[in-house]
Symmetry: C2
Amino acid sequence: VLPIRLAFAQTNPIVGDFAGNLEQIKSAALEASRTGIDLVIFGELALCGYPLGDLSYRRDIVASSEAALTELVGFSASIPNLTLLVGFARIASHENPAQSSKAIAHNSAAVIRGGVLLGRYDKQLLPNYDVFDDWRNFVPGDQELVIDVAGARVGIKICEDIWGEQKNPFGQDVDLIAVLNGSPYTFSKEAKRREAAKEYAAGVPIAYANLCGGQDELVFDGGSFVLDATGAEIYRAGFAEGLFEAIEGELQTLTENEKIYQVLVCGLRDYLKKTRQSKLVLGLSGGIDSALCAAIAAAAIGPENVVGVAMPSRYSSDHSVQDAIAVAANLGIEFRTIPIEPAHSAFEKMLTLSPLAEENLQARLRAVILMGISNSAGRLLLTTGNKSEVAVGYSTIYGDSAGGFAPIKDLLKTDVWRISRYVNERAGKELIPLSSIEKPPSAELRPGQLDQDSLPDYEILDGIIRILIEQNQTTTQAIAAGYPEDLVLKTDSMIRAAEWKRSQGAIGTKLSEVSFGSGRRVPITTRFEAR
Amino acid sequence: VLPIRLAFAQTNPIVGDFAGNLEQIKSAALEASRTGIDLVIFGELALCGYPLGDLSYRRDIVASSEAALTELVGFSASIPNLTLLVGFARIASHENPAQSSKAIAHNSAAVIRGGVLLGRYDKQLLPNYDVFDDWRNFVPGDQELVIDVAGARVGIKICEDIWGEQKNPFGQDVDLIAVLNGSPYTFSKEAKRREAAKEYAAGVPIAYANLCGGQDELVFDGGSFVLDATGAEIYRAGFAEGLFEAIEGELQTLTENEKIYQVLVCGLRDYLKKTRQSKLVLGLSGGIDSALCAAIAAAAIGPENVVGVAMPSRYSSDHSVQDAIAVAANLGIEFRTIPIEPAHSAFEKMLTLSPLAEENLQARLRAVILMGISNSAGRLLLTTGNKSEVAVGYSTIYGDSAGGFAPIKDLLKTDVWRISRYVNERAGKELIPLSSIEKPPSAELRPGQLDQDSLPDYEILDGIIRILIEQNQTTTQAIAAGYPEDLVLKTDSMIRAAEWKRSQGAIGTKLSEVSFGSGRRVPITTRFEAR
């Protein structure tokens, strides 16, 4: 079906690391050349990293992108039979008068072969929703580009171009449409990409190349693919860095649970790697959230680089400490116990606190301990809150919410249970103690406290959060979907009251269509009463 | 010069508070009607509050906006001689296919008179830079609107419409251009507005109406004005809520220092009022930053609602405590002293810390105390860091950076000195102790520590920050401007290393063109080496 030999280079760029990104590109190009590939397609902005954010305004950064491209063009003289299609940024020759932004650069693709820059294509449709700020950061292009590769005519597009109302502008005049993407993972995204590509291509084969790796809250999950002229998928690469030749019939797939697990591990691993950190610390409460985070941490960076700290208080139960010990032992991470009682008593003598403030105090003393270890030993502190807690503000700011990265902040509590069971299933043994999974959740900040004293049952709470946040619907719609009115209104009210806390929250890996991160932008100060 | 009697209604809406915003609008309309005004112009989205952010995606919120407008139209039957020009949001009848956003609503102006909705205008140029996300949140309009008011022809525009390349589309066919604005204060913004309005109007009188009040990090500073056909300013309203008739020759002005002071007070006052908070707590170190914040706090909410807490450590100097006592006494705020030694000693026995971690510990113990007071007494905690510190990360996360609002986060240290002297000058007495202004800055986290042990002189540091951040220029440009290469590169490196801390920082009032807030969007993970 494919008119040429085609490969995808799923590189993992770091924003602004032009030397490193170029090295990855050259390495993939050399490998492609050695194996006789005609065309290798890289991801969107593979030379710069994506997203650049407002760094796209900086002339030194765009100039570095252009300089790195020039070097790549020179390099390509040594591999004359290979055509490279590479994402980079370049200064725009003119602004778009209808665009009220400060953008100075195009989000572009370069076509390179045999030491020559054969053409450039500038992304036309610039997304401006969710985490995407392309209309803010780039000038749209307005010229189509079709190139000849080994006798085949190939039309070039970049990412959002294929998600708009306008479909394939080339008609049947091309043999293939090649699309460079920086497409972050969200639940079931793979099927949506294929559907968009099929609709867009309108009867022409289409090759979709993606980046692979974590960048702040985003994980680019590879999965480059080819659809034939009928829209049938004939090749799909896996979720891995490297060069992948498109071979008809090879379809690499993962189950949904495995995909989520790998995304969570990749998000943390690449945040550490790209910020040059290699050691972690986290509090182990004996609960499921910190246990799952510990499992993700051990997988991301190796158990020998993870310290788990139990910090029991006068209200901690014996089984909590036992569960904390168990998860550390199961994972093989270092374990420490530091009771907070001496500090707790000291503060009781220094301050008179309300009952709620006394609960918050305990969480903050734990943060002081963990940040002490973090600062002393250069260990990044993980904060272990899940999306249900982050949504309703069920956390202590500067307490359990303290940390540089929040691995499961976009995983609802009911999903935390599911993925935790899956972590044990894939290991073939109990990594996360069953008792952590099965016991009723508790913050243990006062005797006998349970999450469900303050919150709706998690099945109900998560259902409401899905409707109000992830589907951006109204309380009326949540009630119409069958959720009790009092719980819907209470949840909505708690979500709004927690806006200021979330505005100070750690970043964490995005999984859903609407995560609490740069893709959701709402005022802190609001007074809208739903219904 | 003015063909009609014209007034500006500088209302102070709360986002989503349709009942309250409508009440303000009705009240201004009644007053205008009583005094025989022909046309009253309100600010952008005066009915909804601005900016709405992603709340503009919610159909219940847009429906509430339309319902409130319908009520206003009914109300206007009782004041038949007054024309109202009011900003509101409405559902768009169709999307813009070239716009890749999730927007469903227009940012609109309604023309209302005598119980009739005479016309609607939808904002056409949607800004997408700095704090503005209009292209993300709204569908652009494409129809002009000219209305007749008491025999005069008036063309309608909204805010960014007059800042683009396209100028006055009405030519000389109108007697007046009326512009509804949601224009936040930044340094010298008033002159820029007048220049934009003059260039846009191209020989036609123009009336520019602005909102007035704080909304999260923004302060809308009123200052509605009229330019005559030559572009000369013939009227300017002050920085105050209320109805202002445009009377030729009345030009209300403030000095730059007074304007900055009032913006800082307004930003904090409205954040408190709009989030229904009325009490504050802050740490008083004896240094200038916390002293200036205390002065702003006392002015915003009354000294009787402010508690200042000195929390001396074993390293605190006597003069620091004396200066803290003095500022509290001068301002008339409540003062408490809570030495941190008992907690400090307790943690020393619990943990082995590196020297830097030991410094951070002290800052975090103070945050635990302050948040204990905050949680127990329902007092919002202010964090007192200035822009120079925020830029280079010279602060302890979860320590002195803890707080719900950061009054001076966009004020460079050299400006903190200037505004502090001005606070004393305008009071005609020493509110901020001269010794706090004149002593060398110190965090006092180890014996003899001074800021300048770790940082360039503040005059140099602030100059570099202005170039790299506020002017978005490169290190090469900063060096060309005369700053020492080693200090420029060190500052640039510190700025980038602090990105993760800033991402968890409190919001605070924006003053500069590039503040550390929603208007500056850069990745945390980057590896660009300047030069």
